[in-house]
């Protein structure tokens, strides 16, 4: 059946107005109604607080580009932040703590990838399962308690600066640089577009979609591990439920940022803007004393609206 192919007009350039508009709008609204929102101290706080989410949302962008999803990221983050706490407490070494976190994250990521690519289990179910597993392990290794008394070297990461720029921001920028290069300048990145846009094309080119998929999810796990360091540094402790639910903010950031769930199109900068938008939303609501529960609800509404609009766009 032949039809005149409809040229898809949707592309990142058309989306710049979208998320940027949302961001500007949010900043304007909260600038007006939230006391202290527009202060330098507050805004830079928002940026620093957004770094952990950035490190989750960037790999999530890639995963969503392959028409997948990783619901376990928040739970894995919780687990890896506990790893950092426990290992650094035991060995007095921040680096070993980081190493353990990355290993654990990578393991979970690989399991996710294996479940999705090899066993063919739908991503949301597979990662829902690993979410449960990570959550359970978090409770087990911490016995439900916070892990305190960790070496100062860990805590200092969060407050240290490099040339006046806070370390977390440097890490986030570095992460962005790595992902940007990965997605737009490497063969791996090229193939990620194909995984979502036209998987057959990969097979015709003689490449293996499975290995690529596993790598994408593993990457998510590794980043969750790295973010674990930041999380433990920020709280100066390891907590068994700290990062739970953060995957939702990550998915929200990606959706608001314009990455489509169904077409193999991704925009990293959009995700970053989306992260900042989510951060601004939460911060603003905080400043006007709305409890975190409402914040979560608002982010939920934001996601639904973003998806609905995305669905409209893909059908036009």
């Amino acid at each position: 059946m032949r039809e005149a192919a409809v040229v898809s007009q949707s592309n990142p350039l058309q989306r710049i107005p979208g998320v940027a508009l949302v961001l500007v709008l949010l900043i304007a609204i909260f600038g007006a109604i939230a006391p202290g929102f527009l202060s330098v101290a507050n805004l830079s706080n928002v940026l620093v607080q957004s770094t952990i989410l950035t490190m989750l949302a960037l790999p999530m962008t890639l995963i969503i580009m392959t028409e997948g999803l990783d619901l376990s990221m928040g739970a894995v983050l919780t687990l890896t932040s506990l790893c950092v706490a426990i290992v650094s407490l035991a060995t007095k070494s921040m680096l070993l703590g980081l190493g353990a976190a990355i290993l654990v994250g990578a393991a979970f990521g690989t399991v996710n990838g294996w479940l999705v690519a090899i066993l063919g289990i739908p991503p949301f179910v597979a990662t829902l399962g690993t979410l449960g597993m990570a959550q359970g392990l978090s409770l087990i290794v911490s016995d439900g308690q916070s892990v305190v008394g960790i070496p100062h070297s860990v805590r200092d990461i969060y407050s240290a600066t490099v040339l006046g720029v806070p370390v977390p921001i440097v890490m986030a920028l570095a992460t962005y640089a790595v992902f940007h290069t990965l997605l737009y300048h490497t063969r791996f990145g090229t193939y990620i577009f194909a995984l979502g846009g036209n998987r057959e094309a990969l097979k015709y080119a003689g490449l293996s979609p499975n290995r690529l998929l596993i790598a994408v999810y593993a990457l998510g796990g590794i980043m969750a591990g790295t973010a674990g360091l930041l999380m433990t540094a920020r709280m100066n402790s390891g907590h068994p439920t700290a990062g739970l639910g953060l995957e939702f903010d990550a998915i929200a950031a990606v959706a608001v940022g314009g990455t489509s769930f169904e077409r193999g199109n991704g925009w990293l900068l959009g995700t970053v803007l989306g992260v900042i938008a989510v951060g601004v939303l939460r911060n603003g609501l905080n400043l006007i004393s709305l409890p975190s529960s409402v914040q979560v609800a608002s982010v939920g509404v934001l996601v639904i609206v973003a998806l609905f609009l995305d669905g409209l766009r893909s059908r036009s």
């Binding site: 192919a5 040229v7 063969r187 846009g197 490449l207």
Partner: protein, 512 residues
């Protein structure tokens, strides 16, 4: 529409060169169908070799065998005189055979350069990275060689169909294709784009690239083709030169059949009331201004080439596709909305792909038979499995469905019996208008005549049928009259006396 084209007649010296690719005795069989039967065929460098045939003649099977997607059951391939095997797409690629399918294999959000070199990207200095400058430069070179002026860093999703096709061709050229197989390349192109494509083809010819070109447009066949091969029923009928043949002769070659098919049909005057009236129907699926009428007791055919919009008309009438304008009047009353409305009013659709659209393969024969009649059989809402079983058994008996029982999984039945189940489900629902989309596709001869006898009985008892079929013989033997579609519109109407295969093909093809 003729397109002026600087063609050179096939030079006589070409044939003293060995053929680039030769097929000898290629056969390919699928369960119940012989797609290719002892086809022999040669392609010379620098020629445009037209491949003609009706739907189902074997063109697409031949294409797939050429590119290695199917492996032939029998026969040999010779490349430049030497025997080779084409058992995989890699084999075909190595020989320089590339097929441009109608569904392109491009990745929408990658740019042209990335698409051309997918899997073969030039390496950058850091391992794993791509040398952006080189890939763009290489892409520019390939695009220049085919005369396509476009910035290779544009993402493919922004391109129109014609341009995407050019990218596919560039991709093939970059893989050093010496034989290009194109499947109806001008189907979605405007006149201007067609001219550009023809210019490109001329360039490729001059380079010695051979082009196997599948087309349904007579004008193109004569202006572009160096040689023509006609396929029919999987067999190669003849190979001729355009200069030596008329379009009428070609049509006769494509169509002539000597199979005797007896579909006893009583064409006596028993046309009843108008059951379906379609006025000015237009839908975003590509059909415009469709006017059709179907009366009780009639079997009305809807013919045309694949892609002419027949299924789209069926779906629009049934409510499966949205309608932009026009009216559908059934049994005197206007009808619009989702299929459940049409079904309740008495319209039935027997879809083209019965496995994916007509049946729930995992469920039983019985379940499938009663699914459209649930409200009619059980108006109180309470479902009685035994009563459903009885209804199912009755239908199985009446339609002679070969199954061990109503509880058999429907996916295990043969094609013909599956089709009977689809028809049976609408019988149970009490439908008055049956829309058939390729009712006998993939069904063996014996079951075919059973299906037609069934349809005949249905309309004799007061129902009406609208039948889409690509098998012109069937239309001519079975239908009281027929509409012929072409490119989304009704090209004409043939009454009983005018209903011949040649007329159908003539109306359906794009003529000058």
């Amino acid at each position: 529409m003729t397109t002026a084209l600087p063609t050179e007649p096939a030079s006589p010296t070409q044939e003293t060169l060995p053929p680039l690719l030769e097929l000898r005795g290629i056969s390919k069989e699928f369960p119940g169908v012989k797609a290719l039967d002892d086809v022999s065929f040669a392609v010379f460098p620098g020629e445009v070799h037209m491949l003609l045939g009706e739907n189902g003649a074997g063109k697409s099977s031949l294409m797939k065998v050429l590119c290695g997607a199917y492996s032939a059951d029998a026969g040999e391939f010779y490349y430049k005189g030497e025997k080779v095997t084409i058992a995989s797409t890699a084999d075909a690629q190595k020989l320089g055979i590339a097929v441009i399918f109608q569904e392109f294999s491009l990745v929408p959000y990658l740019d042209i350069a990335q698409n051309i070199f997918l899997g073969r990207e030039p390496k950058g200095r850091i391992p794993g990275t791509i040398d952006r400058r080189k890939i763009l430069a290489d892409a520019r070179r390939v695009l220049d060689s085919i005369g396509f002026e476009i910035d290779p860093s544009v993402t493919v999703d922004k391109l129109g169909v014609a341009q995407q096709q050019m990218v596919e061709i560039a991709k093939a050229i970059s893989q050093n294709a010496r034989i290009l197989v194109m499947d109806e390349p001008t189907a979605a192109l405007s006149d201007r784009e067609t001219e550009l494509l023809f210019a490109l083809i001329a360039r490729l010819k001059a380079d010695g690239v051979a082009i196997v070109y599948i087309s349904h447009r007579m004008a193109e066949v004569f202006t572009l083709g160096d040689r023509i091969t006609v396929l029919r029923d999987g067999r190669r009928i003849d190979g001729v030169r355009p200069a030596d043949v008329t379009s009428d002769q070609l049509v006769r070659m494509m169509v002539g059949r000597t199979v005797d098919m007896t579909y006893p049909r009583n064409f006596a005057e028993r046309r009843g009331e108008v059951l379906l009236e379609v006025k000015g129907l237009t839908s975003p699926a590509g059909i415009s201004d469709i006017n059709i009428e179907v009366r009780q007791g009639e079997i009305v055919g809807l013919c045309g080439l694949v892609g002419s919009g027949r299924s789209e008309v069926a779906r629009a009438v049934f409510g499966a596709d949205p309608v932009t304008s026009g009216e559908i009047i059934f049994d005197g009353k206007t009808i619009s909305g989702e299929p459940d409305v049409a079904a309740r009013r008495g319209i039935a659709l027997i879809p083209e792909s019965r496995k994916s659209e007509g049946l729930a393969l995992l469920r039983s024969v019985g379940d499938n038979l009663v699914v459209s009649a649930l409200r009619k059989l059980f108006p109180s809402g309470v479902f009685d499995p035994r009563s459903a079983q009885r209804t199912a058994d009755g239908l199985i008996r009446q339609l002679r469905i070969a199954t061990p029982g109503a509880r058999q999984t429907v996916g295990l039945l043969s094609g013909g019996n599956q089709q009977k189940v689809v028809i049976g489900k609408w019988l149970a629902a009490g439908a008055k208008l049956f829309i058939f989309d390729e009712p006998t596709r993939g069904i063996d001869i014996g079951a075919k005549s059973e299906i037609f006898a069934l349809i005949d009985r249905l309309v004799a008892e007061g129902a009406a049928a609208l039948m889409i079929s690509s098998e012109q013989v069937e239309i001519c033997h079975v239908c009281d009259r027929a509409y012929v579609m072409r490119e989304g519109r009704i090209a004409g109407h043939l009454s009983r006396s005018e209903l011949t295969e040649e007329n159908i093909v003539r109306l359906g093809m794009h003529h000058a």
